[in-house]
Symmetry: C2
Subunit: 491 residues, 2 copies
């Protein structure tokens, strides 16, 4: 398989697929819309998952696990929820196969039909709130701060690797509280966790905001989100945190006795991020030569490539590398020494560039004489000659610098792609020239929002938190507006 | 809910359920045969999973993720495999629900029928080997050493918490090799990993062996297993590692070019352990007061309970505890200080006993004057007065001792419950008196094995590795036999 990647300029969408496939992050599968996450992609996901999991635990959450299947009737208990999910769910109707009596292989056994069909969870609010009913009697049982790491299935018509797949991996937090304020605080706390994770670990700047009514999660009172910007000027929703009010508690009759011995419905939040984040990571930072990974989540942070002729040189290099490998490991740097004899150095250079390894060290026999190595950073492609003395420390500092630089670059790009539009003309021109987030007044109606979407494919990504209040006129209808909202075309 | 647990003597099966439910490991769910793994149970699973994952990675394996769904036709490509799994699988036939035109809520949309039904994976050999076909061309692509942590579904008719549930969590390794010997070595390597994990982490002594033909995994050439013994004298299969030969490579046409440029089918292994291990853990070590957890996998290793009257005493204890909590954390001990004011010390003692916390420390005002605390170990119920000086170190040593003691106790029990039977009469008497493993001669036929099972419910658990070869006569038929095998009634 050729390693050549389509250029962003030529075909951004093909560039994205090329990187995913050729860097070995994922593969198409035999099942429509489902993908295989390959070892390199999964190692990346593990690093992201482990850090998020740590942050959830540090903020008092515990993991649990709820059933994959949801009885069909549960879905319809919350009116908005069923509207949102019934049209795209995988339905289990039978529990056995049999040999075809007509000799056509194996077929579904008609005698093994389920009394009630089961839905493969698209999200778990319903099965979880049905469970919480038995866990919650009094305020003493609250709060419940539970998360689960799981696979979910949504039967999407158009799928794309990582961004939108029929099955995907995610975490879903489901919390239960004694007061509305506590549930809102939780919703916002998690939004901050998501934003911190995106910015500090993924080097991905995000806008925190709240969704318009039309873009809310099906069953939520308010949906908060983080929105990131991709290199083609399109936005990507990267995480959502929902304040659910008492909607699910009412749907599943979950009441508790408060401190004054009064009965009330429980207040709730739910929140999730998914393997979609890997799509965001790829599209935000990578270039025409392949992935660019922030060091903090890179499966391999440093690769060392020996350059030698003959066994004697090889042996000398091996010995030197062995010495400083220990230093790297002592500092907790994830380092790989690739001395595989089957591939030439040039091939390896291209391969690790493609895989987005943040730092590459090349070491040859003459380098050892000079007590130096060549250090190349993936983000800027700069190469420098670095002393072998204190090499691990030098590289550790460099990794921090790369982490920061990738963030700054993405932040500058994002900041250059937030613009104000005060007229419809400006709005359309901005969208069609450089894209990005467009800050504009909107009359607050779902009709106008829908009309703008029809005309331009742009949607309201969010109403930023702590938004400036200012008088203005809706760009489409001219009706009065009290604040600007962020529009963008989005994934 | 009362915390009283049924005694083992009274009803072993009810005792088991009581512990699971009352210690907060798991809960029944609204979905037939599926359970909810509660936070305490999931924390236990996380500890087990993380250790196994570390051991897999140390032996060169990487994680990946394959689709939840398997096209129906894949299942039938391997003849034995479809026989084994078609009768108990959940089948997805539709991908959408709709409002019932007759007003009966939501129903399956008949227009959204899948062209080919999808099976919810009961195990992933078929989908994975279909993928490996595209990954493997040459010997250079081998070996593939991949594992996945996933949920699987088997539509079992009789289910029990952890031991046999419709959905369960597990890991499944799927490896591909250039030679038969390599695949066999891998199969045995993993069996050793499983045995080491069971014995050193779960304090669970196991017998390593190979299954008889009738007990083989559907599609395997050989199934290796670890078998543990429960307190009621029944065996529990705790992990299996399968040498698959070329069966799946042939079924999915996965060939490779070897070093001599000849084409051959790829050799394979697959192996798995599941949340069933938690059932084994509960049944092997627990007592009539609740769980007994080996320290190495306990979510809480040490709990500290303050005993005080009034705020002044409380404050004094808090200060002291704060000092030695740091020492515990520095040693990596998982410690919890339970100063919740809502529950009395006696209630807490019972609660942590139920939850199997290995060490309980009680500390009162007078203890502080005497510079001691009361240390109670869960396994033997011994209480001793221990100096506060060097407390964390003393307890760390004690935790090792508890880990070892739980293993020794289980090992002694197991060794007392392996007996030889040379006649049918002895065999039956042993089974009906103390149960356990019975080492007996068998004529090697599936008919005899089946007959013994019918007569006694005992099955061949395994033919132990490195089994002594000795002439003998089958206990049922009197036909000649060359070695003894291990029989037991089993879960």
């Amino acid at each position: 398989m050729g390693k050549e990647i389509t250029k962003r300029e030529t075909d951004y969408s093909q560039w994205y697929n090329d990187i995913i496939l050729k860097a070995g992050l994922a593969d198409y599968s035999a099942v429509r819309g489902c993908m295989v996450i390959k070892p390199y992609g999964f190692a990346l996901w593990e690093n992201m998952r482990d850090q998020l999991d740590k942050m959830f635990k540090e903020t008092g959450h515990q993991n649990a696990y709820f059933p994959l299947f949801i009885p069909k009737s549960f879905l319809s208990k919350e009116a908005a929820h069923v509207e949102g999910f019934a049209k795209e769910c995988a339905v289990v109707t039978h529990y056995r196969l049999m040999n075809d009596p007509d000799g056509g292989g194996i077929v579904v056994d008609p005698d093994a039909k389920l009394e009630e069909e089961l839905i493969v969870r698209p999200t778990s609010e319903t099965i979880i709130w049905n469970t919480y009913k038995t866990w919650i009697q009094s305020y003493r049982d609250l709060p419940i701060l539970v998360n689960q790491w799981a696979n979910v299935v949504r039967w999407e018509m158009r799928t794309r690797l990582f961004l939108r797949t029929t099955e995907f991996l995610w975490q879903e937090g489901h919390t239960a509280h004694a007061t509305s304020q506590e549930a809102i605080d939780e919703t916002k706390l998690i939004l901050d966790v998501y934003a911190t994770f995106a910015e500090e670990w993924m080097s991905l700047p995000v806008v925190k905001g709240v969704k318009s009514i039309s873009e809310r999660f099906a069953g939520a009172v308010d949906t908060y989100c983080i929105e990131a910007l991709m290199q083609d000027g399109k936005a990507l929703q990267s995480g959502t945190s929902h304040y659910l009010g008492q909607n699910f508690a009412k749907a599943f009759d979950v009441q508790f006795t408060d401190k004054e011995n009064k009965l009330d419905y429980v207040w709730a939040s739910s929140w999730g991020v998914s393997t979609r984040l890997i799509g965001a990571l790829v599209m935000a930072h990578s270039d025409d030569d392949g992935l660019v990974l922030p060091p903090k989540i890179a499966p391999i942070q440093v690769v060392i490539v020996p350059i030698y002729k003959g066994d004697e040189q090889k042996k000398m290099i091996d010995e030197k590398v062995k010495m400083f490998m220990e230093d790297f490991k002592a500092l907790g740097v994830k380092v790989k020494y690739d001395d595989n004899d089957n591939n030439r150095p040039g091939w390896k250079f291209a391969e690790y560039e493609l895989k987005g390894v943040p730092v590459r060290i090349a070491i040859g026999a003459r380098d050892i004489q000079n007590n130096v190595v060549e250090v190349a950073r993936r983000d800027t492609k700069e190469k420098t000659s670095v002393s072998i003395d204190g090499l691990a420390n030098t590289v550790a500092v460099l990794l921090n610098d790369i982490q920061q630089n990738i963030y700054t670059k993405a932040k500058n790009f994002r900041d250059e792609h937030i613009a104000k539009a005060d007229t419809w003309d400006e709005f359309e021109k901005l969208l069609d020239s450089k894209g990005g987030f467009i800050s504009a007044h909107w009359d607050g109606t779902a009709e106008t929002e829908e009309k703008i979407k029809e005309l331009t494919k742009a949607t309201i990504r969010c109403i930023p938190l702590n938004n400036l209040q200012e008088e203005g006129k809706c760009i489409l209808t001219g009706k009065p507006s009290k604040e600007r909202v962020l529009f963008a075309r989005a994934y």
